[in-house]
Structures are given as C-alpha cells and as structure tokens.
Amino acid sequence: MKYLILLIAILMSGCATNVESIKDDKDVLVQEDSGYLLLGIDSTMSLKSIVLEGPQNIRITHKDLTEGSNHILLALKAGDYQLTQIEFSNYYKTDVDDREYWTFSITPGEINYAGDIELRTKWFVRSLRFNMELINNSSIALDFLKTNFPTILSSKSIAYGGPGEDDYLHLWSEKSL
C-alpha cells in the first residue's frame, strides 16, 4: 500500500494541472508569491494543449488554444517557467527543445507578459511540420489588456517576462514613456 501511495505521489508530482484563462476583469491575486502570466498564442491550427513547467506545472487546454490569435491570462505562482510540450491533437505532440529559449519568469504581484507563441503548421504527406517562435509583441499585449482587463491593468504593474530584456511595458506602467 505504501508503495502505491508513493507511486501516486510520484505520478502526481509529474502531472500538469489543467488551467483555464481568466475571463473576468477582477483581480484574483490573493497569494503574495503569485503573479499574472499573459501569454499570446498565434497558431495556424487549433491545439490540444501546451504544458508549462515551473513552480506549478500547468496545462493550458484546447479551450484557450483555438486557431488564430489569442491571449491567455493566468494567475500562477511566481518563478521561472518553461514551455515543455505542445499537443497538436490526440495523435500529434512535440517536446520543446532548446528550453532556455522558451523560458519566462513571473514576478509576484505583477502582470508578466511572456511573448506570443507563433506557430505555423503544415500537413505534408500525413506528417505535421511546424515552425514556432516566441515573439515579443508587448504593445499588442498591452492593447489586449486595455480592452479586456482594464481593472486588473489599473491595479497591477506590467512587465516583460519573456526571453531577453525589454523595458517598454515597465516604462508604460511607470508612465515614463
């Protein structure tokens, strides 16, 4: 029995929790060690899920991953996260290589924009080919928040948390642009 519990514990620790993006413009950050993650997805096909690993392992599901351009706002524990897996459908998935280029960080109490995952897919003789890149579209993300989450945006500062350094959102928050 104790081995079964151990096995469950091990399996559970590797599992990602399904999450859904925040829909209501209400500040839901209650814990001090958490922050908001804003992630853009611009994909030529709908996706089944994407997995992020970090202080929390989470799975963003197909409900937020329809074809086209979308933004996903989540409240997560602060820390560094990596994109580790993309499931295109029930039958196709890929593990992400070069993870250092797919890493972003969440600072507590802030809105952290990670970038837009641009995914271009193509079917070729029953195989799925794809290209993906994490593009920093900070100003578009800011427009999204202004339109859809003005309350959260007015109560929290916003910063770029994706690969590389970019002060634009931070300067906007400080009203020093």
């Binding site: 459908s89 029930n90 039958y91 579209n137 427009d143 770029y160 642009l177």
Partner: protein
C-alpha cells in the same frame, strides 16, 4: 563608315516623348518583357512576355525576324530558370504548388516547339553542353543520395523510357551542382553549419576534390566567380584590401595568389571571364553599374556600341559559341532597360524590345550626382531626382535601409519615378555604412545610427540646398530608412515638415529581444554588426523613447507579418505617439511582411503616401491637362479607396478614407466612385445604412452609363429595396444597358423580370430559355433564382409549372411531396473537438466548448420523408432564409437542396455577427413552392 542599324524608333522616341502625368499602372508594374537568353548559335533569343493572368515563353528568330510561343504559363507558376541546352532545345523550370516542374522544349521542323515534362525527382545540372545530345541530371534516390546521369534528349520525346546512363551517386543535393565547361568539371557545393565547401570532379573521375571553403562568420568578403584554368580560380575578395577586388586563387596553395584588378574608390561587384581571361570588371561608379574592360578588343567593341546608346549602361548578357552574336542589355536611370542583338560579322545591331514598352513614349525624371564631404572628411555621394512636370517645390529625403552593407544607386527606380512624376524632388544618399565603398567606409556606419549617419545625410542636404531651395522637406524611408527618417525629423524639426516611415525599426534595445531566437549568439552578432554592441543599445537614440520630440506629422506603414523589422516596432511607436497626442496616421497591412510583394498593393501604398504628403503639406491637387490625365488620377483615387475598403488588406478597414477617396473620384465625374458610394451606403460600411442615399448614388452612376450601378439600381426597384417596387422602371434601366458581355447579376435579374413581369412574347420566351443557358454558366445563382421564382407569389402559375418541370428534369427529381422529420433545429454554433486532426461540429449555443468564432448559425438537420416507400427516390427542397429587423425584411436568400433521402439533410445559415436586433427565419418548401416547415432563430 557607320554600319550599325539602330532602330529608328529610338530617335523618334526621344523627339516625341511626353512629359505629362504617367499612369501609375504603367510605372509601378511588372516588366512586360524579361528573362532573355541567347541560343548557342546566336540565332534565337527566348524571353517571357507578361499578360494579365499569364505569361508567354517566346522564341524570337533574329535572322527570320519571327517569334513563336513556346508555352503559355499561368502567372502563379513563376519561371525559375530558362536556358538553351543546344541550338534546338530549351530547358525551363516552373514553380509548382508542391513540386517545381522542369521541361525540355524541342524545336520542330515547322519552327514550333514540342515540350516534355521531366520526372519530378530530376534536376537538370546547369552548364553542361557535352555533345549537345544529352542532358546531365541529378536524380533524388533516397535521403541525401542523388544519382548523376546522362539522359539522351531524343529519347525524352519517344514516349518510351528515356535512355539514361548512370555515372555515379553523389550526396550533393538538389540544385547544389553545376557544370563548369571552361574546365570540364562538375562543381558541387555544400553548406555545413558555418561553412560552405566547394568541390569538383570530372564526369569520368572517381571522387570529388575539395577546392575551397568559405566561412559564413568571416567578416571579409570572399566569393569565387569562375576559373582561369584547372588550378586557378577567380575570386572577389577584400581579405587583403579595403575594396573588394578581383584576385587569382590558387587551388593548390589554397590561398589568394595575385591581384587581377582593384579599384581605389569602389568595390568590384562582378567580373567576366572569357577563354581563361578576365575581360571586364563591374563596379558601381557614381551609383551606376560601370563595366571596365581589361581586354583591348572588348574595350573597342564597347566603344563602338556606346556611341549608339549614349548615357546608357550596356551589359553583355550572353555571347554565342562562335563569339559572333551578342545579347546585350542597355539601361539608365530613366530607362528600365532594352535588349539588343548584335552580330559582329555583318555589324548588325538590332533592337529587340524594352522591359516597359509602354513607357517608351514618356520622358522620365533625370537624376543628378551630388558630391559632398562630411565634417570628419568622409566623401559622400547622393542622387537628386528632379521632377520634369508638376513641380511641388518639395524635397523628399529618402535614406536607404540596412544601414550596413546596403547601398542606393542611380538606376531606374519605379517608386522614385512616380514620386518625381507627381512633382516631388527625391534625394538619396549613400551615407557611411553603405556598401560599395570599401570595408572602412562600411565599418564607420556600425553603431552610427541616429548620429553620424544622419549627419552624413544632412551634409548632402546642405549641399543640395546650396543649389536649390524648397518650400517643404520631408523624410521618407523604409526599414532602417524609416528609423533614419524619424531621427532626422526629431533632431532637425525646423528642417523637416513631415515623415513617412515604412517597415521601420524604432526601438533599438528591442532588436535584441524581438523574439526568443534573437537571444541566440548568431542573431545577436548579426544585430550588433549593424547597430553596435548590445550593451550600448539602450544608449542609442530610439524614436519610441523620443516620441515627445517629434513635432511633425508622421505616416507609419508596417506589415503585421514583418519578421525583419517586427511589427511591434511600429505598433509601440504608434502607441507612444498617441500617448503624446502626436499627428500620426497609419497604414498597417494585415498579411504583409517587410514590404509589399504585389505590384498592385505597392502602387496603392505609394498613392496613399502621395495623398498623405498632399494633405499634410497643403499641396494643391494636381490639375489634369487632358481627359486621359483626368482618368489616370480618378482611377488612382478608386484604387486607393479599394485598399481602405477591403476587409483583408489593412488590420482595420478605414471606411472613412474609402468614402473620402470615392467622393473625390465622384467629384471628378467617376461613375465607379459613385457606384462605390452607393454600396457603402447600401451596406452601411462606416456609415448608417441609407438606402435613399444609396439609390441616389446608383442613379447618378447609372446616368454616367456604369453597368454595375444600373444593375444595382434595377435590383432596388425590382425587389422594392428602399423604394416602391416598379417593374417598368426595371425594364427601362435594363434596356439602357448596351454592353453584351456576360454579367451574372444582370442576367439573373433579367430572368426574374422576364418571368414575373414580361413586356413581350420575347420576354416570356426568354424566361424559359435563359435557365437552360445560365445553369451551365453559373449553376448556383441560377438555381437560387429559380427557387425564388417558384416560391414567389408574383410568378404566374403557368411559368412556375414550366420552371418546376425544368428543375425536375435537370436534377432527375422523382417525387416532390415530403414531410420533415426534424433532428435539430434552432440557434447553433460551431464547436471544435480534438481528434486525429480537429473536427468542427454544430452544437446548441449552450453546449459549445471551444468556438472558433462567435457567428451563430440558424440550423436545421432533418430527414426528408417521402410518401410511401422512398428508397432510391430523389426529391428537392427549396430552402429560404430571411432576416427581419423590427418586423421588416432586411435580407433573404434561396437555394435548392436535392438528392436521395437516406441521410439527414443539413442547412445552416450564418447569422450576421453582432447584429442582435436581427431575427432570422428559415423556411422549407417543396418543389411546388408549398411551405413544409419554418422556424425562427434569435441572434442574441
């Protein structure tokens, strides 16, 4: 004695050339003629001739002065390559959707060409001449294995398996081999990580011999261009010099072994090797390609022809195998290019044709070289293009992109000629960092953005202002040129009156964090090679952070799919300019990358820029000198309006501007402009729907004879849209149409009219004859119209009976009366479900999990039950949807479903998104027009 024959038209052209307004459709368009090649015997020249939707590959026999078409190709299949294999056999390669297609065309005895398509796994190796009876191919076998073989040309046309002699297997891939006939060697090149390795082998030999290796990361330039002999290559390089020069390269010692040619001022761009000698070198002198001849015979030859083509740059494109016939190309800043054939035996010089024959009758704007020296002693070159007509006294300063390793030149440029033709003076400058002036000059530009580079530009402007004065000055550029234009206006606000910045970079630190891959070392080093070190990036001036200092109107142009200068640059700059309440207008294209790829869109973009300049500088509008000029300007207004009106061109259509341009066109008497205004009002694009206004515009356009407007107006009267139904008026309007070409909307309206309100026996007969004809041309529209006629109470019963008979016979309908056994009915939405790929299915709104869009569907899914046993019988149902607003019919549509009844029939109507006040009603009728069932759907 001068024996050259020069086509008289050159002289005639120069004496009667027009100086007026040039049609932008003639100027900003693909060349009509291109891709010329000379046959080995020098008697034939092939080229392509473009038409609207296709192009012809043509062969012109110079001796017989006769042209024949080799192949007519759809314009989407771009010509990738074309060359002669022997005197009678032509090779060409076309771009396909999945595979590219190679063809061999053979001249028959009648002079026409017979073609054969080659195996899709074959690649013809360029340059192999051999005995003239074979082609050398590489054939993909598996993974990276390619088989090199000789294929007998004749056998390709024999309808049997081609005769092929396999020589060896190689791992040099598709298109990575060519044959160098001067040394009878097959050359292969391979790219591996940071290196390109070049090797050679003879066809009889047993192995590849490495020749040289080139390193991508090497900052110095090194490019092999040919062979002097088996052991010596010719390379262009600046490893041992500041300027790119022509060197011998010893394949034995693997190093540069001697200088062949070097220039003190300019980088060499090309060299021509003939019979083991470098006979000429090319460099950009004062912005024009300059061919310097190293052989006395070639110098003399050039001297003879240059007298005939004064001021033009003459380039030898090809020479025949006996060295008697030449294919030549002449061009200049005011002339896009003309091809000539020269036979040195009889000294016959024949003008073939120009790239833009339609421009031959115009005199284009000439360009003047401006030389200046910067404060720190750098010698600079600039080019000033001045208008011949319509001078607007406005200087457009146009910095080039890059900024490193790119140069401007004094060659024919479509956009500059259009700006000059519309009265603008254009100045371009090769500032520090530009290519063509050596390594040191280029290095000076690294990290000099927003400072020394712009200072160079101002130095040249000062020089221009010593000679000329202008009322207005604007800066305009693309890519780095966009940045530079903004910085010029920020730093020198008193000297600039406006800015046009396209596809630009405006946030220097952002260059290093535009994408996750920009964090990679190779990307960072590439960016640093242009703008300086990453550490210093934040200290470089960035327009985004200096927006408050920009005090002139700015037009920002960008492409959402630009991955060179990411769209984010433009969008965040616009965001900050808005925060500072600056005068900013945008042209953000939805599907465009780093610049336009279609001539039509490029023309629209340039016309929008001209409009911006006119508005912001308060320039008086150009006054046309003739009806032709008036027509040109009016058509351009319509074209510009289309860009703003179209749904999928800009990120957000700008209906206000679409209306503005159409109104301007209408004021110029444009019937199309009036018609477009009618549509805007009828469909409420950017304005409230105003049917009375729409009718008025259609009426005015009709009075000017515009056919589409007549049809739109007639439809309003026939269906009673915004007016009382008046069929007599419809007859009058349709009778006034004189065009006889096919027009679907008009045809279907005539069918309705002649069936419901005929005025003569002829009309009655047409009611029954038209469907037979129309159904072959546009089946869906015709059947929808017949369905409407069958249901309509306005259609006489006798006519209905005949139409029902026609439809029954057409679709072999056995049974008419049915009942519906409904499975699903009501307001649904498409929901996406994962599976092997993804499936979309319609579900009730409340059950939707993942919706692709919020468009609701008024949906019916039902079995059709015929009376009695219905196995195998075919029936038909008329499906109608209607949309009502406040109980008033807004829109409707009819269609006919037909077939067997073994499966459920599905009918879905997309309801207008966001129009929550519309009530949709779906009705199902049998083929007799009797109502079977109906239901309503809410759109809220």
């Amino acid at each position: 004695m001068k024996q050259f024959f020069v086509a008289c038209c050159i002289f005639i052209y120069s004496s009667i050339a027009q100086a007026g307004l040039i049609d932008s459709q003639k100027l900003l368009t693909a060349p009509e003629y291109a891709q010329f090649a000379l046959s080995p015997d020098g008697d034939n020249v092939t080229y392509i001739q473009r038409a609207a939707k296709s192009y012809l590959i043509v062969n012109y026999n110079v001796k017989e002065e006769a042209a024949v078409a080799v192949k007519n190709v759809h314009h989407s299949n771009m010509l990738l390559d074309k060359y002669w294999i022997n005197n009678d056999v032509l090779f060409f390669e076309l771009e396909g959707k999945r595979f590219d297609h190679s063809f061999i065309a053979k001249k028959t005895q009648s002079g026409k060409f017979k073609e054969v398509r080659l195996d899709k796994y074959w690649t013809v190796i360029r340059g192999y001449k051999g005995d003239g009876k074979h082609i050398l191919i590489s054939e993909w076998k598996r993974n990276t294995q390619y088989q090199v073989s000789l294929v007998q040309i004749e056998s390709l046309f024999s309808h049997q398996r081609p005769k092929k002699k396999v020589l060896f297997t190689s791992n040099y891939g598709d298109g990575y081999m060519f044959y160098e006939s001067s040394v009878d060697q097959l050359i292969g090149y391979k790219s591996e990580e940071k290196e390109v390795t070049v090797s050679s082998r003879s066809l009889e030999g047993s192995k590849w011999v490495p020749l040289l290796t080139m390193n991508f990361e090497e900052r110095d330039f090194f490019a092999p261009i040919g062979f002097l002999d088996n052991r010596t290559m010719v390379v262009l390089s600046n490893r041992d010099s500041d300027k790119i020069s022509v060197y011998k390269y010893s394949l034995d010692d693997k190093k540069i072994s001697g200088l062949i040619y070097g220039n003190n001022t300019y980088d060499v761009t090309d060299a021509r090797i003939e019979e083991g000698r470098v006979v000429s070198v090319t460099y950009m002198k004062h912005g024009k390609p300059h061919h310097e001849y190293l052989s006395k015979e070639r110098e003399a030859f050039k001297g003879r022809l240059s007298k005939e083509l004064e001021g033009q740059v003459l380039t030898t494109l090809d020479i025949d195998q006996d060295r008697n016939s030449y294919l030549l190309h002449a061009s200049s800043p005011t002339h896009a290019g003309t091809w000539y054939h020269f036979n040195s035996v009889d000294n016959k010089f024949t003008r073939l044709i120009s790239a833009y024959e339609e421009l031959e009758s115009y005199k284009l704007a000439s360009t003047q070289l401006i030389k200046a020296t910067s404060k720190d002693g750098i010698k600079l070159e600039g080019w000033l293009t001045q208008p011949r007509v319509n001078n607007r006294n406005t200087l457009i300063v146009m910095p080039h992109g890059g900024p490193i390793g790119v140069q401007d030149s004094n060659e024919f440029r479509h956009e500059i000629q259009l700006l000059a033709n519309r009265g603008f003076t254009v100045l371009r400058v090769n500032f520090r960092g530009s290519s063509g002036y050596g390594k040191e000059f280029q290095k000076l530009g690294v990290g000099a953005l927003g400072g020394e580079i712009e200072s160079d530009i101002l130095t040249v402007i000062d020089k221009v202002n010593e000679q000329y004065s202008f009322k207005h000055t604007c800066a305009m550029g693309a890519s780095y040129g966009g940045y530079s234009s903004v910085m010029l206006a920020i730093n020198e606000s008193q000297r600039f009156d406006c800015v046009v910045a396209a596809y630009g970079i405006y946030d220097i630190p952002y260059l290093f964090s535009s994408s996750n891959f920009h964090g990679k070392e190779e990307f960072q080093s590439k960016i640093e090679g242009a703008v300086g070190s990453k550490e210093e990036a934040s200290s470089k001036p960035s327009p985004v952070y200096l927006a408050s200092k920009l005090n002139v109107p700015i037009f920002l142009i960008a492409g959402r799919r630009d991955y060179v200068a990411h769209f984010e640059h433009s969008n965040r700059f616009k965001q900050v300019l808005d925060m500072h309440n600056k005068d900013v207008e945008t042209l953000f294209f939805k599907k465009v990358g780093h610049g336009q790829s279609q001539w039509y869109r490029q023309r629209q973009e340039t016309l929008a820029v001209i409009d911006f300049l006119e508005r912001k500088l308060n320039l008086p509008k150009l006054v046309p000198d003739s009806d032709d000029e008036k027509e040109i300007l009016t058509r351009e207004l319509i074209e510009t309006a289309e860009m703003y009106y179209a749904e999928d061109v800009l990120l957000e259509p700008n209906y206000k501007l679409a209306m503005h341009f159409n109104k301007q066109a209408a004021e110029q008497g444009s019937a199309e402009g009036l018609y477009n205004l009618g549509l805007i009002n009828q469909y409420g694009k950017g304005v409230e729907t105003d049917l009375e206004q729409a009718r008025e515009y259609f009426q005015q356009s009709s009075e000017l004879g515009y056919r589409d407007a007549k049809v739109a107006l007639a439809k309003m009267y026939f269906h009673g849209i915004g007016v009382e139904r008046e069929t007599d008026k419809v007859h009058d309007i349709l009778d006034s149409i004189t065009e006889i070409t096919e027009h679907q909307q008009e045809s279907l309206l005539r069918l309705m009219l002649y069936c419901q309100a005929p005025k003569s026996d002829k009309h009655q007969a047409r009611c029954l004859d038209y469907p037979k004809d129309f159904v072959k041309k546009f089946e869906q529209g015709t059947i929808g119209t017949l369905a409407r006629l069958i249901v309509s109470a306005e259609t006489p019963q006798g006519v209905k009976d005949n139409l029902i008979k026609f439809v029954s016979e057409l679709y072999e309908i056995n049974d008419v009366k049915f009942k519906l056994n409904t499975r699903k009915m009501g307001t649904y939405v498409w929901s996406r479900h994962p599976g092997y790929g993804w499936r979309d299915k319609l579900v009730p709104v409340e059950d939707a999990e993942v919706t692709m869009d919020n468009t609701k569907q008024c949906y019916l899914e039902a079995f059709v039950d015929l009376e009695g046993f219905d196995g195998g019988k075919r029936t038909a149902a008329i499906m109608r949807w209607e949309a009502f607003k406040d109980g008033k019919l807004e829109d409707d549509s009819y269609t006919l479903y037909r077939g067997k009844t073994s499966k459920a029939w599905q009918y879905a109507v997309s309801m207008k998104e966001g129009a929550t006040d519309l009530l949709y009603k779906v009705s199902v009728f049998n083929l007799h027009g009797e109502l079977v069932d109906s239901f309503e759907c809410n759109n809220n």
